[in-house]
Amino acid sequence: MQQLDTAYAALADPTRRAILARLELGEATVGEIAQPFPISGPAISRHLKVLEEANLIARTRRGQQLVCRLNPQGFKSAQEWLDHYRAFWAGAFDRLDTHLKKIPEKK
């Protein structure tokens, strides 16, 4: 569960969502990822660290460069949890609906 908290916290930030959108195209160097954003190198590194700790991306060193890519496993567990949560609430609303129908109308 803690992993999921970290994942959703990571996804709450638009810059990090934009970074993930970039990585959907394929792996990228830190320089490529940073390019659209008017923020410092250290700030980008912090975003990448948050995404990595949330298991959403993986970083590997290739020569002089850090290369980032999506971690499908991390996305899968976040998605599974979300599906479960959705199913739970759908079920809860159905039950609520049944319950409300049983209550006799007061006039």
Partner: protein, 150 residues
């Protein structure tokens, strides 16, 4: 940010627009507004579809002067008004994979600086041609946000 060696060609354009960020931002996310200016100069565009939400799709048709019609399709990935907008950009009839356009809006002395990056373009030639296309398109946006696009 210091430049590092990049694997793929990335197009980056940074320009100033004479409007506040929310005005510049909304010009990209409302169907009628987009239709008014999107596309290079001399090229009329229809925007038959624009779903302004994350995961929403858009479709635009560029009408070239020689009568050809070029469809473009994509999906909105990030909408953070009025700071960041990201959407995929796909030439519907080509075999090219989807590419990604990221726009970052920054207020600057009553104006808005937009940084447009177009990533995932397969070749250096694509980067060059898309650079021409976006610069020409942004000329129209610059006039549009001032209410001067005819």
């Amino acid at each position: 940010m210091s430049a590092t060696t990049t694997i793929n060609p990335v197009l980056e354009i940074r320009r100033l627009f004479d409007a506040p960020p929310d005005v510049a931002f909304d010009a990209w996310l409302e169907r009628e507004q987009w239709q008014a200016w999107i596309g290079p100069e001399g090229c009329r565009c229809d925007v038959p579809l624009l779903e302004p939400k994350v995961g929403g799709r858009y479709r635009l048709h560029m009408h070239l002067s020689d009568g050809r019609e070029i469809p473009v399709e994509g999906v909105f990935k990030v909408i953070d008004r009025p700071n960041i907008l990201a959407f995929t950009w796909g030439w519907a009839l080509s075999g090219h994979p989807d590419t990604l356009v990221t726009l970052v809006f920054r207020a600057k002395d009553g104006q808005t600086e937009i940084t447009l990056t177009h990533q995932g373009l397969p070749t250096e030639e694509d980067r060059f041609s898309h650079g021409k296309g976006w610069n020409s398109t942004l000329n129209k946006l610059a006039l549009y946000v001032k209410g001067e696009l005819v």
